[in-house]
Structure formats: C-alpha cells, structure tokens
C-alpha cells in the first residue's frame, strides 16, 4: 500500500461563479484569491496559515503573487504539476506528498482563469509547445488532436457513438439541477445533439468542454488534523500521475493505443487504494471532449471497448440511481470549465452529501484527470469508513 493512502484529506473547497469567458469582473489573480479564501473559510482555517501552494499546467498565479494578499505567514512549499488537464489529481498527489514528508501542513491546490488577463484558454493551455507535425498539418486545438483518438476508438475499435452522446446528455441533465452551472438552461435532447454544428469530427459542439472565467481551490491537510476541522474530510486514497512506456510526447504514436492514455495510472489507483471499479459510487470524469471521457471509463476498467455501448448509457450515468453516475455537477461540458478543477470540488461534495445531484450514501468518489494528455493522473477519494 502507498504511504499516501488516506494520509491526507481535502478539508475545504472554494470557487467563484463561472463567468462567460473573457467577462469576469475580476482579474485572474483576484479570482484565485477569492477561491482560496473561500476554501479556507469552508475548512475553518485562517488563510494566513496556508503554507503550501500547488497548481498545474499553465497556471500563472503562483505563491509569490498570492502571499501578500493572503497574509501568508510563510510559504514552505510551492510546486506546479507539469502537463495540462492531465495534472489535476497529480497536483493533489504533490500536496499529499509534501504533507506526508513534513514539508507543509496546509496546502492549497487551485486553478484560475480569466481570459482578459491572459489569453484564450485553449491557446494558453498549449503553452506554445505544440509540435510542428500538428501545426503544419492544420491541427492545433485539443479538440482536433483528441478527435484523432476518438475517431480511432469509434472506427477501429467499434465503440458506438451513442456513448459520446450519453456522456454529453448526462452532463447537461445534471447541470439542470445545479444553480452554478453555466449550461443549466440547455436541454440536450437527441435532436439538439444530432444537429449541433461539427467542430472536428467526430466531435460536435456539445462534445466539447466549455471555457469559462473562474477559479477553484481546495485545501489539503493531514488526516490527523482533518478530523478537527469544520467539514467532513474527503480522504485522498490514491492520486497517481504518470505515463507508461510507449506514451509521452510521441505525436500520436502512442503504443499500445489507448484512447485516454490512463491504463497505467488507473492500474496504480486500484492497487494503491485497494478498491476497484465496482466499488466506486460516483465519478467526476474530465471531459475535454466526450469521446475522451468514454476512453477514461474504458481505461479505468468500468467497461471494455466491447461493452462500452451497453455500459455507457444515459440511464447508467445519471444520479441518483445509475450504475455509475458521472459528472453530477454538469462537469466540464455543462457546469463550467476551469481546466477541470471544478471536478475536484464536486467529487468532495458527493462525499459530504451536498451535491445538487447527490448519490445517496456515496463513500468512494473518483475524479479522473485530463484524458489523452501526454501525462495524466487520476484520484480516488473516500469517506472515513473507506480508510
């Protein structure tokens, strides 16, 4: 068993409203501060006591910019998980590692985006690091590049397109009950989905995540300390980050092929946590694109390419009683998208029993990081009884 299993917990969550991209009334740094302070208040701790700061991908609001406004007593640890949306649970793993190693006690993991302060999210996340092979051949956006993965999943592996539609419809269905959800007024019936404009085949508009201005933060601390704080702890059972041999920055030459590239981290997740797919009560699945969420469920072992069509159906994916309710806040597609960070807060809410689409008695809550990323991560959270 991993030394990190259950050693730390998420004890506070905070987030700003989701604004239409480019319209936040506050600049990005102020959004980050608002989310961090809200997370500290939720946990019942003083923001000045936060001594560790961790984010991922192209986040620019680092500890040096935050500490004067937070009144930070001392920054003892700060780090960035490389890569893109693949790094979210990885950032939690860094937080847990720092706490277990005694380098920090109260760590915030956060992500903030305001396009007016920076640039278009889908451009910013690429960090000006896209290989010539893509750009020369008319490919630059994650929507286009990941379309290659999903097209292969559909055409070579025979996964039905109905799985993508089910992932989209479940997300929009859940968003209807979520007052925070940016897409809560959209009714995604079959006709609306089928007639949506194409973006990059096989993806249409509703297969793609949103881009919003917002910030989201969570506070991580030791399991020992978590017991004495304001909220029911969401223990981090496992949050592995990595890439198998044959993956990495290989310009679509990943071998063996896996749509989401999460076979390795999923294997470690189950081994480290001691649980398996059948034990999971609810899942927040990062969906830059629906087809990639389908790939995540396959890589995590919830189904195979052969059974995906039977398993990934609308009825199975919705709370409260589906076999595996996914993206119960609306997720990246329908709630809002701050590079996926909103999935972490929803995973925690499910364990607290405070989701807008609560799965009754949820004890094990999964949150998968960005699929199809050249490095990725995944996390399993549990209540005290799962330790």
């Amino acid at each position: 068993m991993s030394r990190l299993r259950g050693a730390t917990a998420i004890v506070g969550i905070g987030q700003t409203p989701y604004y239409k991209r480019g319209t936040s009334p506050d600049p990005e740094l102020k959004l980050a501060l608002r989310a961090i302070v809200a997370a500290a208040e939720d946990a019942g701790i003083d923001p000045r006591d936060i001594d560790g700061f961790i984010s991922y991908a192209s986040e620019r609001n680092d500890a040096q910019k935050l500490m004067p406004a937070l009144g930070t007593k001392e920054v003892r640890f700060a780090s960035l998980a490389w890569i893109h949306g693949g790094g979210i649970p990885g950032a939690l793993s860094i937080a847990a590692s720092a706490i277990v190693a005694g380098q920090a006690e109260t760590v915030v993991v956060y992500r903030a985006m305001a396009e007016a302060s920076h640039q278009r999210l889908r451009v910013a996340v690429a960090q000006n690091d896209t290989a010539a092979q893509y750009l020369v051949n008319g490919l630059e956006s994650p929507a286009q590049i990941l379309a290659l993965r999903s097209q292969r999943l559909l055409q070579a592996h025979g996964v039905p397109r109905s799985t993508m539609k089910a992932m989209a419809q479940a997300a929009y269905h859940h968003a209807r009950n979520n007052p925070r959800a940016y897409g809560r007024n959209t009714v995604l019936d079959d006709e609306t989905y089928e007639n949506a404009r194409l973006i990059s085949e096989p993806y249409n508009l509703f297969d793609c995540s949103r881009e919003n201005d917002a910030a989201v933060a969570v506070i991580v601390t030791s399991a020992e300390r978590a017991k004495d704080l304001a909220q029911k702890p969401a223990y981090i059972l496992s949050a592995p980050m990595g890439t198998l041999a044959g993956g990495g920055a290989v310009e679509e030459n990943i071998r063996p092929f896996s749509c989401a590239g999460q076979l390795g981290v999923a294997r470690r997740l189950w081994a480290e946590s001691g649980y398996g797919p059948k034990d999971v009560d609810v899942a927040q699945v990062y969906q830059n694109m629906t087809g990639m969420g389908v790939g995540s469920l396959i890589d995590h072992g919830f189904c195979t390419v052969d059974t995906a069509g039977e398993f990934i159906t609308f009825d199975n994916l919705i709370a409260p009683s589906g076999r595996l309710p996914v993206n119960t806040s609306g997720g990246d597609l329908a709630e809002g998208f701050v590079h996926g960070m909103g999935l972490v807060t929803e995973a925690v809410r499910q364990l607290r029993g405070t989701s807008c689409n609560q799965v009754p008695g949820a004890r094990l809550s999964l949150m998968t990081g960005g699929p199809g990323d050249t490095m990725t991560s995944t996390a399993l959270f549990g209540t005290a009884e799962t330790l």
């Binding site: 010539a132 092979q133 051949n137 194409l198």
Partner: protein, 153 residues
C-alpha cells in the same frame, strides 16, 4: 542548401525532426532509424531510449500507408488560421508501410468518398507553403481502387 522552413521555425514539441523537414523540402520522404540498434524511431528523438545511441540514420521511404485515424476540421482554429479558407479539411494520421509503424500526419487531398480508418493512401510532397506555415509538407490521397495491384488468382 538553405531551407525555407528554418526561417519560420516552429519550436514546440521534441524538435529532433529537422532532417524530416529538410528531406521534404528537397522532395524526399525520409524517416529515422537508430544507427545503433536499427529500431525505427518516430517521432525522431535525440537519443535512442532502447540502446542509448545518439545517432539516427534517415532512410528514404515510400510515402504509402494506411489511415490510422483522421479528423475533419470544421472550424478555423487560431493557430492554424492559414487554412481558414479550406474549412472543412481533413487531416489524416497515416501508418507508413515498412517504417516500424511510424504514424505521420498530413492533410488529405482529393476525393474523400472512401475515407475511413484502414484506407490505403499515397503521399505527395508539397514545397513550403503559407498554409503549412512556411514548412514543406506531405499530403495524402486515398489510393484509387483501380490502382491497386490485383491479387494473384
């Protein structure tokens, strides 16, 4: 020889594929093998992770293969705006015959009727163009069924 693409160099990714672009600009389709162990290595890298050699040999290769995957772009994305006038356009990822399964990207030209994963394609080399950001490029064309060699009876 002075190469046009080097004046407009794209710096993202691994960046060990200069010889690929130089080859294309000379009208040659070349892919790399490790000089130490002979393993095909695509995309090119600076060191062979299998045997530790730092040398690559670039082999002239027939630009023929099958479509591993593809997408048709219906939106003029920011960083490839040069192709806005071509929307919708297809980019194919092509598994090259006899090059260790190397998958090489290129825009698909010509008839798209039989476009599917597994379809046979042949490549044509274009000189540097604005659409390709000043780089030479390979474009793929679905192999005409009538060009196929009939199987022996």
């Amino acid at each position: 020889m002075e190469y046009e693409f080097e004046k407009r160099r794209i710096t993202g990714g691994i960046g060990a594929d200069d010889e690929y672009w130089r080859g294309l600009e000379r009208g040659e389709f070349r892919l790399p093998r490790c000089a130490g162990c002979g393993r095909w290595m695509w995309p090119a890298h600076f060191r062979c992770g299998a045997c530790g050699s730092w040398e690559m040999e670039w082999h002239r290769t027939v630009p023929k293969g099958t479509i591993y995957s593809w997408t048709r772009s219906w939106y003029a994305f920011e960083r490839v705006k040069e192709r806005a006038g071509d929307v919708p356009y297809v980019t194919a990822l092509v598994e090259i015959e006899g090059a260790g399964g190397a998958r090489v990207m290129g825009v698909l030209v010509g008839d798209e009727t039989d476009l599917r994963v597994g379809a046979a394609v042949t490549g044509e080399i274009l000189p540097p163009t604005e659409k390709a950001k000043g780089y030479p490029s390979i474009v793929w064309r679905l192999a005409d069924a009538s060009d196929a060699v009939p199987s022996p009876v």
